[in-house]
Amino acid sequence: MNPAGSIVFFTTASGAGYGLLFWLGLLRIFGLVPADARFGLVSLGVAMLLITMGLLSSLAHLGHPERAWRAVSQWRSSWLSREGVAALLTYLPAVLFGIGLLGGIPALAVPMGLLAAAGAVATVYSTGMIYASLKPIRQWHHPLVVPGYLVLAAFSGAVLLAMLGAFWGDGAVPAVLALLTGAGGVLLKTAYWRGIDTAPPEATAESATGLGRIGKVRPLDPPHTQTNYLLREMGFRIARKHAAKLRRIALAAGFGLPMLLALVALLTGGPAATALLTLGAILALCGLLVERWLMFAEATHTVTLYYTGT
């Protein structure tokens, strides 16, 4: 599948934003992050900025961005529509959460923070389901795709919150969460990669043409000598050559190094921790960009069976 830059950026940025919103809404209640209202507002601001930038970027993917408002109408059947609805609804408690923080009204900030956290989970879950519900793409129609979206959002959010917390003198709890979710991410991604590498294809050139009754099926002539939309969108295969290398980069930059830096930061503390956690957050987001890009580039669509037989 063609890794459209706008969508790769959207899933990384919005994922991190929703992860940050989730942890902020949840951890503040238990006093596990700095109680300073300014910390809450800055963190909320960063989360909303990432979310909004991601959502706007996803609009760039559309042929008619000005009609995007129509996309909230089909929530009964469409996960993309549900994602849109969840994303828009999450703004409501998030803004009220901000007002609660600004005015120092815990009675407003606490429930709205929780609601915003729930909205963040619902939105990221819907994003994952958009991909997981697509049967023709076996690498997406996989039980670990939705957990992957959730864990990656939780990890990148925790990394960001640890960095922001460190600026206010205490990023310990989010740093521990980053270590835990990072470990979860590594386990999940390696299991996912092993799964898609070993699973047999659901459909074959034989079943796609029904000619398996005669014998092995090989494409002889394509319909046209030139490329087309289907091949550009669904037949993207540049990355597969480098898949193994890119996976190692994603694991090292996206998870390994940020986790190591978080661990060192936990041990050292002080201004050094702030620098380490900042570096870790930058590395994590860059690594996740690679991972999200790979998620598209590695995915194969059944339409290529008609063109290449695989």
Binding site: H61, Q74, S133, L211, G212, I214, D221, P223, Y229, V303
Partner: protein
């Protein structure tokens, strides 16, 4: 609405039956499809760089050629690929705007080009590659089963069939109601063992494909010595040949 209409028994299911035995891969169906649809319901179907290298465009029907089997049993099969107007079209249910829909009255899957946002998700959801983005207009386009022909009262009744069916020189394409077990197409599917493409995807295509007929066994060589009636000049001998052949 992108929710699917309720499936009722005996419901009309308009679709195509494509005979892979007689298709000669001439591309006439694809050409006439392009010709009709570039000025019909989905007009225009864009072409990019039409007169230079890298010419490409939107086609609702593309004819592939495959080799199947090995050795003497192997054969070349021409394979037209277009929208199958599935009974469970995920291309419709994934649509966030309601631009994609399946018609209740005849099962045709259509796109409303005025409300499509061009997100491309429906093309991802189709296992068969039936949907193509019109990158000029920014909306998704697809086979309409020539909805602007089959119900068109301005053209003679016998021509109210999809353009691909009307033009096929070997009658490898048949159009009709596959929901009616007594229709000509349903009978054809029964007689010839018509089948679904990628049934494992669970989309339940309405269009059916007829398999290439089994070839006569390799041993059955033509009888070389037998004269044909044309070879026999003597009318008496010709008459005798006719009588004896009975």
């Amino acid at each position: 609405m992108t929710s699917l209409p309720e499936i009722k028994p005996g419901q009309k299911k308009l679709g195509l039956v494509i005979d892979l035995d007689t298709c000669v891969g001439c591309q006439a169906c694809a050409t006439n499809c392009k010709e009709w649809n570039t000025s019909g319901h989905s007009a225009p179907l864009p072409d990019f760089h039409p007169y230079s290298a890298g010419a490409e465009g939107v086609w609702f029907n593309r004819v592939h050629s495959f080799e199947a089997g090995e050795g003497e049993q192997g054969r070349t099969v021409h394979f037209p690929r277009s929208c199958l107007h599935c009974e469970q079209p995920a291309c419709v249910t994934v649509c966030p705007t309601g631009a994609s829909y399946k018609r209740e009255e005849d099962g045709i899957v259509l796109v409303n080009h005025d409300t499509c946002i061009g997100c491309g998700l429906c093309a991802w959801a189709c296992p068969y590659g039936a949907r193509e983005m019109d990158e000029d207009a920014g909306v998704m386009k697809k086979c309409t089963l020539c909805i602007d022909r089959i119900y068109n009262e301005n053209i003679p009744e016998e021509r109210r069939v999809p353009a691909c069916v009307a033009t096929c020189p070997t009658q490898a394409r048949h159009f009709g109601d596959l929901g009616d077990p007594e229709s000509a197409v349903s009978k054809l599917v029964r007689e010839r063992g018509g089948y679904d493409l990628m049934p494992e995807m669970g989309y339940k295509p309405v269009n059916k494909y007829l398999p290439p007929r089994k070839r006569a066994s390799v041993e059955a060589k033509p009888v070389e010595d037998a004269p044909t009636p044309m070879d026999i000049k003597n009318p008496l001998l010709r008459w005798m040949d006719r009588v004896l052949t009975r």
